[in-house]
């Protein structure tokens, strides 16, 4: 039942847990008053549990060497998947950046168009254009016009 992934996932989780524990001890102060858990106890507990679970997973994977099913031989991530994941991530980061700098009204259509073209591989310009404008307008009406909650206006933009 154990997959090939576990053989490296288990140890990496343990390493992650150890890094976590190091950070926790370095940066979170202990209890201020005697007898109470304080802000550090819970994070430490979590680190220890995760480290333990990582070890158990590694052991299970070791014991089942040579018994993998063929299904487990497929790679965890194909190149295409990795690219699309990175692309989506990059686009969201870009969106956050643009919202901050040039504001909702400009950033949203740009990001929608980019996503449609680059990620969804749509080449119908009418669809791209109408969606970009439609969603931007719709959101603006709901948030700004109807409810008066301000959407980001962009720090690079100086409104007249």
């Amino acid at each position: 039942m154990k997959s090939a992934v576990d053989r490296w996932l288990g140890p990496s989780l343990t390493v992650l847990a150890l890094v976590w524990l190091w950070l926790v001890y370095a940066y979170i102060p202990g209890a201020r008053f005697e007898g109470e858990p304080g802000p550090r106890a819970f994070p430490v507990l979590l680190g220890v549990v995760l480290a333990g679970l990582g070890v158990v997973m590694s052991l299970q994977a070791l014991m089942s060497v040579g018994r993998e099913r063929s299904a487990d031989a497929t790679p965890v991530l194909t190149g295409r998947e990795a690219w699309l994941a990175i692309g989506t991530f990059g686009l969201l980061i870009l969106y956050a950046f643009l919202l901050d700098k040039i504001g909702f009204i400009v950033a949203t259509p740009v990001v929608i168009a980019t996503a449609m073209y680059g990620l969804a591989q749509v080449r119908r310009w009418v669809l791209i254009g109408s969606l970009a404008i439609g969603i931007t307008l719709g959101c603006w009406v709901i948030f700004d016009a109807l409810l008066g909650t301000p959407l980001p206006s962009g720090s690079w933009v100086v409104w007249p």
Binding site: V24, F42, L77, L119
Partner: protein, 498 residues
């Protein structure tokens, strides 16, 4: 009697009913958009009520509240993204139902279950207000800790194949919630001097990220590669009254869970719906079907999270003390209009109390109508090609994450958590336990620490409480049962593999 008539006449006046309807629509729209919850909606609608008469003002707020409680299920079922944290458990079976072509059935069932839960809690509020408030008062930190620990033990049930992966996922979820300013001691935890990190990872931002981003990436991956499954949407079952009420006993139990948990300060919708979901699975005759799109998996959490509303209003009305941010706004709305809820209000302004009850009842009727009529419209979303829908969801997630706290940082955070979620999913670490960890983590830790501060460090406080001990026993039973059955399963399945 006079008060009753007077209250009813105000509550049923055209102005009030219009306010309820406006509130319900606003609440539905808000909660259906991921990132906007009824708490945000209530805060935004609040200024509109300043100029209104007291009862229509409360009608607007309560309409938003109840509309906002139900709307979360719409996006949970159709898109697989919970519109509100309370609807996170609804995704688990609601979305698979939609994928099987039963979206309208699932939506119909969720609305009926929601209305049932909401009305049930209203009846409880009317008849047993004092008693439930009394029970809620007995839940101190030790008891709430035990309750939440029990909730966490349901991770075992959510870990679909491997118990160890479920536990890892749960711990990762708990870890995420450690980051930020510690509410009890006021010290930053793993914030590395950043003011932005001090606000921590907002639960809703994390939920949007974990549910939406991996799914959107998958639709992009599948686009053009995987033949798009033709979803033969069966609209016939929009009014599944009979099938929903076939589970009346489950509905009733879930509503009780929701009402009681709603009344306990410091808990709330997400905990109630996960507990209801888990107990439905445990007592089901076909527990293995859960997660593949069963009716019970939609009905139980929806009845519970809407029953939370009535429950949460109980301490507000009976004690004048709100238990969560949403009811704090409701309380503010009452106070702005010179109405101080609490025991005295029942003696001096009984008409107001009756009017409020009536308003809530009417709001559920309106919700039923709007939602059931709207289902045919909602399901059209599924006709949008997935990759186009994916782009829309992506942008909505960005806006949604921003609006929760008006923070650009949250948009960055959503991107990071979302991609991490995708990575976890690819490593076959289930995301549902991560969500449970996120939802329960802060309460779990805070109540534990507060309990020990109360007892000056003695764990005796947990053992002295009968309620806490009962929940500990249930937790042990749950874990024990799970370990035993997974051991038995691995023993019997071994010869079959290889």
């Amino acid at each position: 009697m006079e008060a009753l008539l007077q209250g009813m006449s105000v509550a049923l006046s055209p102005g009030t009913v219009a306010a309820i309807a406006a509130g319900v629509v606003a609440g539905l729209v808000f909660s259906a958009i991921p990132g906007l919850t009824f708490s945000v909606a209530l805060a935004l609608v609040m200024p509109f009520t300043f100029g209104m008469e007291p009862i229509p003002a409360m009608a607007l707020l309560l309409g938003v509240y109840s509309g906002g409680m139900t709307g979360g299920a719409v996006s949970a079922i159709l898109l697989g993204i919970p519109g509100t944290p309370s609807a996170a458990a609804t995704v688990l079976d609601g979305h698979p139902m939609a994928r099987k072509g039963d979206a309208s059935f699932a939506l119909g069932a969720s609305v009926i279950a929601s209305a049932f839960g909401g009305l049930f809690s209203l009846v409880v509020m009317m008849l047993l207000l004092e008693q439930v408030a009394e029970v809620a008062l007995r839940f101190g930190p030790a008891e709430i800790f035990a309750l939440v620990l029990f909730g966490l033990s349901t991770i075992c049930g959510l870990a679909d194949r491997s118990l160890i992966r479920g536990l890892i996922a749960g711990v990762l979820g708990l870890m995420v919630m450690v980051i930020g300013l510690d509410e009890l001691d006021g010290v930053g935890r793993l914030t590395f001097g950043s003011v932005q990190l001090q606000q921590g990872v907002n639960m809703l931002v994390a939920l949007i990220a974990l549910f939406a981003v991996p799914q959107v990436i998958s639709t992009f991956v599948d686009h053009g590669r995987v033949e798009r499954p033709v979803i033969a949407e069966r609209v016939r079952a929009v009014f599944p009254w009979r099938r929903v009420f076939g589970h009346w006993w489950l509905l009733l139990r879930s509503s009780v869970i929701g009402t009681v948990i709603g009344a306990i300060p410091g808990t709330g919708g997400p905990i109630a719906s996960f507990l209801a979901y888990d107990h439905a699975r445990r007592f089901s005759r076909r527990p293995a079907d859960f997660g593949t799109g069963t009716l019970e998996g939609v009905v139980a959490p929806e009845a519970a999270n809407n029953a939370v509303m009535g429950g949460a209003l109980i301490p507000v009305l009976s004690l004048g003390i709100p238990g969560d941010p949403a009811t704090a706004i409701i309380l503010g709305g009452l106070l702005v209009h010179g109405l101080q809820p609490g025991p005295l209000l029942f003696q001096t302004r009984l008409d107001v109390i009756y009017a409020l009850y009536m308003v809530i009842a009417v709001s559920w009727v309106i919700i039923l109508f709007i939602q059931l009529a709207g289902i045919r419209v909602f399901v059209r979303v599924l006709r949008v090609p997935p990759h186009v829908l994916g782009v829309c969801i992506l942008v909505l997630c960005g806006i949604g994450s921003y609006v929760i706290r008006n923070s650009i940082f949250d948009v960055y955070l959503m991107a990071v958590v979302g991609v991490l979620g995708y990575a976890l999913q690819r490593m076959r670490i289930p995301l549902a336990p991560v969500v449970l960890g996120l939802v329960l983590g802060p309460t779990l830790e805070q109540q534990y620490r507060t309990a020990l501060i109360l007892s000056e460090g003695s764990h005796q406080i947990f053992f002295e409480s009968g309620v806490a001990m009962a929940f500990f026993a249930l937790t042990l039973l749950t874990i024990g049962w799970q370990v035993w059955s997974s051991l038995r399963a691995s023993v019997t399945s071994k010869p079959g593999v290889a």
